[in-house]
């Protein structure tokens, strides 16, 4: 049911991606591609927890924002180098994901969605109000934090390539691994999985923490890229929505669904947001409705199912 990737194809794609910035494309295209890579990464992270286990996470931006702030504080106040900062961002996010995930992943579907949404909004509010309440100058509240000026877009382009490949790679690896079977079993019949020896809570939390790690790391990278962050920017619920829709549209639970969904929606955003700022989001809303009602498996999911049906028909 799952086509194996040909290694030559993978290598070819990776090499072409690495060469692009030298091929004379404009800075605008490099920047756009980098954006696409990061959205693939973010949507891919969301897919690891929500696509595989079926626990729809509406608080994913929480870890992204935590990562942004960790890197921002480390780099601006601590003069910590970039690579260390983003690594620590990822680790901090993953560590926070543990006490959050343990209680919430016991909740059934929709309550998990509400709890995670509450978590993300709570963290945003806390960072907004912390300094004022405690009387320090740490998070800087609504004023935001300015990071040291970063390198050119090409730098972030390459980081984007690495992160994207890492996330997709992990998604692919999970799918074919023992861990992947646990996650899928949880998605399809959690109680039966538990009765068959799967430590369901542990598997869920593991997926959640992996997702949080990369989200935190990406939050850190993008904070450096943006150079200036505020709570409203990096804890924006719209970021979670984008991750959700990109995975849904592309194919939730598939390895390349986020690639398709993120590419499509990022380009759409680029085309629309300057002249029609709200239209993009309205279209996203419509995409959600259409996908849920007509195409719940997303583009890749639907294609995969068609192939399975064809093959089953051939077998009979």
């Amino acid at each position: 049911m799952f086509r194996k990737l040909s290694p030559t194809l993978v290598v070819a794609i990776v090499i072409s991606l690495l060469i692009v910035p030298f091929a004379g494309v404009s800075g605008y295209v490099i920047r756009l591609l980098a954006m696409i890579f990061f959205w693939i990464g973010k949507a891919g992270c969301w897919n690891i927890i929500s696509g595989y286990t079926g626990y729809i996470d509406f608080g994913a931006v929480g870890y992204y924002g935590i990562g942004s702030y960790v890197t921002a504080i480390l780099m601006s106040k601590g003069q910590v180098p970039f690579l260390f900062s983003i690594l620590i961002s990822g680790i901090v996010s993953a560590l926070i994901a543990l006490p959050i995930g343990l209680p919430t992943l016991r909740l059934k579907g929709a309550y998990f969605g509400i709890a995670t949404l509450a978590f993300a909004e709570a963290i945003k509010q806390i960072i907004l109000e912390f300094d004022k309440t405690v009387g320090v100058n740490f998070f800087e509240g609504p004023h935001g934090i300015t990071l040291p000026i970063g390198p050119q877009n090409e730098f972030f382009y390459y980081i984007g390539v690495v992160v994207m490949i890492a996330v997709i790679g992990i998604t692919y690896w999970i799918r074919r691994s023992k861990f992947g079977y646990a996650l899928r079993a949880i998605h399809e019949a959690e109680h039966a999985a538990e009765l068959s020896g799967v430590d369901t809570l542990r598997a869920k939390v593991k997926a959640y923490m992996i997702s949080a790690f990369f989200l935190g790391l990406m939050g850190g990278v993008e904070a450096y890229w943006l150079t200036y962050i505020t709570p409203h920017m990096v804890f924006d619920v719209l970021i979670t929505i984008q991750m959700v829709v990109m995975s849904l549209l592309g194919g939730i639970g598939t390895v390349f669904g986020p690639v398709v969904g993120a590419s499509f929606l990022t380009i759409l955003y680029e085309l629309l947001h300057r002249d029609f700022p709200y239209t993009y989001t309205i279209i996203v809303g419509f995409i959600v409705v259409v996908v849920v009602l007509l195409m719940p498996k997303g583009i890749i999911g639907t294609l995969q199912t068609k192939r399975v049906i064809q093959r089953t028909r051939l077998m009979q």
């Binding site: 023992k178 079977y181 899928r184 079993a185 399809e188 039966a192 999985a193 009765l195 068959s196 799967v198």
Partner: protein
Amino acid sequence: MAILEGRNLTKYFGALAAVNSVDFSVEKGEVLGMIGPNGAGKSTLFNVIMGVYKPDRGEVVLKGKTVSGLKPHKICRMGLAKTSQIVQPFTQMSVLENVLVGGLYGKNLSFANATREAEEILEFVDLGGLKEMASGSITVPHRRRLELARAIATGAEIILLDENMAGLNPTEIEEVLKLLRKIRNRGKTLIVVEHIMRVVMGISDRIIVLNYGEKIAEGTPSEVANDEKVIEAYLGEKVCFV
């Protein structure tokens, strides 16, 4: 020594004791039948044994170790498996993959070994021909057998069957009975809950009877069939004890 024991098991839902001070023990290789009118607490007792519910009083002892209060997956890994009344296959996975999960996690096998065992088990339960089919698309009797196969794959020494034969026609029931005997001949221990008396009486070495959460009788099939309390509990229900 009994391979599985329940001592003074009690489980409350609100003010109602769904299971009340139930003692039982099962020897290795035995087939224990459990009967009782609807609502007697049989499924609840299974869920308590399996760790789905923590008993309010009493213990479950598996191979000499107290397991009550442990999570189901731990109890499974220690050698106990349960089939559910409403079958729950991993619908998007193939029949083979369903059984594979049992071997991977219940027995902690490698992929290669788990796959090999899964194929053997599917042959054993006579589902070999269906191994590539999506488990969501096979018939209900096949799904029941798949559930059983998955339980076997976890390496369980004791299998709890919760109305595994509900809704099957007599031919299908005969086939399942044959399978159960095969499983028993492999040295497994079974606890069977069924409403079809012919089945329970036919395959059980001993039977315990529950009513309103309490054990009201215990003994060989003929002892139980002639027990006044049992007959009284079932009065009004059309039941054939032969």
